[in-house]
Symmetry: C2
Subunit: 512 residues, 2 copies
């Protein structure tokens, strides 16, 4: 008799359950639902909340088991979350095989670091492979992130982590030596410079293939805003065609699989509210390296409500990002900017799109702060990439915008991505008025964002908030402070109710 281990994949007792699609959205957590009296579970000793290995069609995933008493499932059936359904490539009625997961050996490397040892070369590669394969539960990922935060990653560990994260996903390769990219650390509301920078850079003849994210907790992500102007769900081949034709694109990063582990880590880190510098550096750099960037400008806004609080902190972070980038042959320049108030006027996909079209088209009422930020970043990129001499970048960016070349390029990119669209205008608009005379002394970005979300953003692209005042403006009683844009009466009610009961979102101090 050959010696086998109980955790050997071929050695477990494996029994079939019939797959049933139940449309369960559990985000990216894989969930399998069985009846509580499921015979397979009972014989295997699977209890609720257990991690089980689910196999079908030659694929296998690790899922969390929940059990149900009601008659939603027949005996012998198992319901799966959409994430599990997709990853297994299932069809209704497929036979699933359940087994105990193999032991998670890489966890011993995480435990060793918790107890004080550094990661050895190769350790992070093993851990990241297990994470991308879905073998780490949220609990394990939280343990890994905490272990990394406890003692800052050293340079070797940082490089190993970046390398492992890049290797865990797709890596884009381009036929040109200069690939421009930009990244903003710290999510300033409505800081929608990306489409402007891409338009200017591409109009100048450089390549800038940009992938952006959708909103997770904010009223709009760059991909949501861009989607009101053109399709953004492009696959890799379509994205490459756009870049080869127009030199730039702004597509949703979710369609291409660049550093997928980053998304898995960020989701858990957000719940932990833990900003560990090493992880932030690996997060940014792994995406950029996987995207094939050669020249990268980093926007680091600092301010009391921004992610980076002080100038010193911004400079230190910029230095470390630059060092990590240069280890992978990526040239970087850091732009440290003012992060004290939101950018532009619109908050919500279509309203932000309107602002950036105003800048592109040189409209007199275009938000000047958005314009200045975009020009500064584009200017730095033009210099960094060697396209113009130092000191000449801003002027070239400005003339590219002023001449209309950037606007033309932007519309060409939209056409190449599948067709230029007109951003929608909300059916319902409601102004929130000043209740007295005064000067705007503070604007609560977080609660303004909440109003925009209650109004329907980003799910309803036209929904959001249009801000009519800025810090320092003098306003008269009855003058509109901001307008709520909404597509349904119900959502308008929710947003209005919240705005009325939060009369201090925009604070006014008496004028003297």
């Amino acid at each position: 008799m050959t010696k086998t281990s109980p955790d050997d994949p071929d050695n477990g007792l494996i029994h079939g359950l019939t797959a049933r699609r139940i449309g369960l959205d559990s985000h990216d957590q894989a969930v399998i639902l069985t009846r509580r009296d499921c015979l397979v579970c009972r014989s295997e000793g699977f209890a609720a909340h257990a991690r089980v290995r689910v196999e079908c069609n030659g694929r296998r995933i690790i899922a969390t088991l929940y059990q149900i008493d009601s008659d939603w499932l027949e005996q012998g059936e198992a319901g799966l979350s959409e994430s599990a359904w997709q990853r297994l490539g299932l069809s209704e009625g497929d036979t699933l095989h359940l087994a105990h997961p193999q032991p998670l050996n890489s966890l011993s490397l995480v435990r060793a670091r918790i107890f004080g040892q550094p990661f050895s070369p190769g350790d992070l590669g093993i851990i990241i492979k297990d994470i991308v394969a879905g073998r780490y539960s949220d609990i394990h990922i939280a343990m890994f992130l905490t272990a990394m935060a406890t003692r800052a990653l050293n340079d070797q560990e940082t490089r190993d982590l970046i390398q492992a994260m890049v290797a865990a996903g797709d890596v884009l390769e381009w036929s040109r030596p200069v690939i421009a990219d930009k990244h903003c650390v710290g999510g300033l509301p409505a800081n929608r410079t990306t489409p402007l920078v891409v338009a200017i850079i591409a109009a100048c003849g450089l390549w800038m293939p940009k992938t952006s994210s959708r909103a997770i907790t904010s009223p709009a992500g760059t991909a949501d805003t861009m989607e009101t102007l053109a399709p953004v769900d492009l696959d890799l081949a379509a994205m490459r065609r756009v870049v080869e034709r127009e030199g730039g694109c702004v597509v949703w990063g979710g369609s291409v699989r660049l550093s997928p582990v980053d998304d898995m880590l960020i989701r858990v880190a957000r719940v932990m509210d833990l900003d560990a510098e090493g992880q932030l550096i690996a997060s940014v750099m792994s995406k950029k390296i996987a995207a094939g960037a050669s020249h990268l400008v980093l926007d680091i806004p600092h301010g009391p409500t921004a992610k980076v609080r002080s100038l010193t902190e911004a400079q230190s972070l910029g230095d470390k990002l630059g060092a990590a980038a240069s280890a992978f042959g990526v040239a970087t320049r850091v732009v440290i900017s003012d992060g004290r108030q939101p950018v532009g006027r619109g908050i919500g996909p279509a309203l932000e799109a309107r602002d950036l079209l105003a800048v592109l088209d040189n409209q007199p009422d275009a938000p000047e702060d958005l314009r200045q930020r975009a020009l500064a970043l584009a200017g730095e990129l033009l210099e960094l990439s060697g396209h113009v001499a130092t000191g000449k970048g801003f002027a070239l960016a400005e003339s590219t915008l002023a001449s209309g070349a950037a606007a033309t390029k932007f519309r060409a990119i939209c056409e190449a991505q599948g067709g230029l669209r007109e951003p929608p205008l909300a059916a319902r608009q409601f102004p929130i008025l000043a209740l007295r005379n005064g000067q705007v002394s503070s604007i609560d970005n977080r609660r303004l964002g909440r109003v925009a979300k209650l109004a329907g953003a980003p799910g309803a692209p036209a929904a959001g908030v249009d801000l009519h005042v800025r810090l320092g403006d003098s306003v008269a009683i009855g003058q509109p402070l901001f307008s709520i844009h909404s597509e349904t009466a119900g959502e308008l009610d929710y947003a209005r109710e919240f705005a009325f009961s939060n009369g201090d979102i925009i604070e006014l101090t008496p004028c003297r």
Copy 2:
């Protein structure tokens, strides 16, 4: 207009959903299930996997949101996990109010320790209060456990943690100064000494109110074994009546709420496979202090497959447990024992009950190792509590057992708990035979446990494994090594199949 915060509990926008009981077992994780097109979720911006506050009947919990596309739920309905249903005290059709959870401020204390600061006095109390209120997700608990494991808890932190864990649940008070207790660190299979020790101690006139756990990953817990002999689901008042009448009890700890945070931490720590000493000490001591123990004997088995690997480790852990106990006025004595092989013969609730009845009744075939262990622990407790002089404990324990006084007391305790029962005998038994002559050189406890679980233990109380040989025994070809006990043909098949394909669970080396 008064100044309000968006996280003020009275300030959120609150909308109703109709509660529907779906019998979802998600262990102790609270889950709420809505349709993906749920209007409340959309307007509040709740996405799948969000943490939401659910209120009803003046109670509130934090639950994890999942969303579903199928027609299992009507628009306006929400399904809840049983854990959520119980904690909210719901009835079918109740109206639920959903809101965003308040910010988890105590997480900043956890983050501070991750970044190198010790906990200040009071910090752990704040964190533990949030955990017992269900405000920490598994991710947050994993973060907290990792933060504590990174740098060993100092004495002050250990005491604060114990204090906070005790304060988070019920604390038992007894009318006698001496309350005996025992605890075994490290889960040796079938080490079922507790009912024997309770019987001997109570027969000697001391009080020993013992709460025990059910199996989580093993084929039987002490509460499962005891349940084959008497009811164990006693509430606090019933438990008190038993102890006041008979001096002892063995009840399930889940009915009394002693250090409930401990159970929450252990569940996550088990997934992390993280044994942090400070947490182990707080886990043991918080339960004992909450149970009102004054004199405690600790059984620390050590061996290559036990939790504690070496004698040195066992001594160091014993010292630390003793120091923590003495800070709370609990006298302790540590018994370091051999943990190299399982105790007794039966594995599974009823089979283990049979072994302990054999010891109680002084049957000639009673497992001697189980008897010796129980006598050693009872003897130490009798000495520690001052009931007999040092050196006299073992003899008194032995005579109490030999005279039948312990057996009489045990049956009286069972009657007081609700009636003595006869442990069931499995309908089906199947022997696994030696395939050659040889001497037993190793017994794989882990895989033997798996056979017992596949056979149906602990859900089917009569199911399990009956071991016929011990290390060093000489066996002849065709002699039974162990028997599988099962209540159904299907479970017997599963267990047998696994045993056949794992012929080395009991290894035989040729005799010379």
